[in-house]
Symmetry: C2
Subunit: 139 residues, 2 copies
């Protein structure tokens, strides 16, 4: 029952929103990119409390959108390993700007902010650290 994405226009912002424009998709990307989470259960247990059917739906949407892949988990046959694609990793600069914006107008973790500045300064290096799971950050 995989419904494909309907693009409303060729506007780049509209295009992005057609893939990730809801209250949950970018939180999944956040968990993958910044928090070292990569299983269904990990996402379910994340602070905001996504409903299980909604999570399933968003994950397949993100897969169709080319943002994540489902793979067999190296440690367990019962688990599924979710990973960001290159396209997904390339969302990090946008997420970083979002973090910096939120920091400016809402109260958020200091750690998140200094980290965001680091990523902004050295995108490649920090992204690599993130992807290796060497760095996890509390958001």
């Amino acid at each position: 029952m995989k419904k494909k994405i309907a693009f409303r226009s060729t506007c780049p912002i509209s295009t992005m929103l057609d893939i990730t424009g809801d209250k949950w998709s970018l939180l999944i990307v956040r968990d993958l990119a910044f928090k070292g989470k990569n299983t269904y259960g990990d996402f379910l247990k994340a602070g905001e409390g996504i409903a299980t059917n909604v999570l399933a739906d968003k994950l397949t949407q993100l897969e169709i959108g080319g943002i994540v892949t489902k793979e067999r988990h190296p440690q367990s046959k019962a688990k599924v390993l979710y990973r960001l694609t290159k396209k997904g990793i390339d969302l990090i600069p946008a997420l970083v700007e979002i973090i910096l914006w939120s920091e400016k107008y809402h109260h958020v973790h200091e750690q998140a902010v200094s980290f965001a500045w680091q990523v902004r300064r050295d995108k490649i290096g920090m992204t690599k650290m993130l992807m290796d799971g060497a760095k996890k950050i509390e958001l």
Copy 2:
């Protein structure tokens, strides 16, 4: 019937999504920031075809979120002038990263991309141009 925003967590990304996390809000910001649109009718006529009741709802949401203000229109009593607040203008860097991301993976206007790079390079100057209405860009 102005319903206030419910924040799901203190995560900066989640916080931003609680205000603008849907398929329409950022398109309104786009129209204000890049296209020199500033009335209800302008937004309605924008390419993606937002429903009138949804537009009304999103506009009050954005107002509550501190992103836009409603003001009396200098040319006509029948019109309302919508404008980005500082907080709204500060969303531009995030929009720029979104534009660059979309360009990389989807087909979008060349003009939009070179413009995005310009804003990224000279944020202050380009933002000023945009806000003065001196620059309009086709997205």
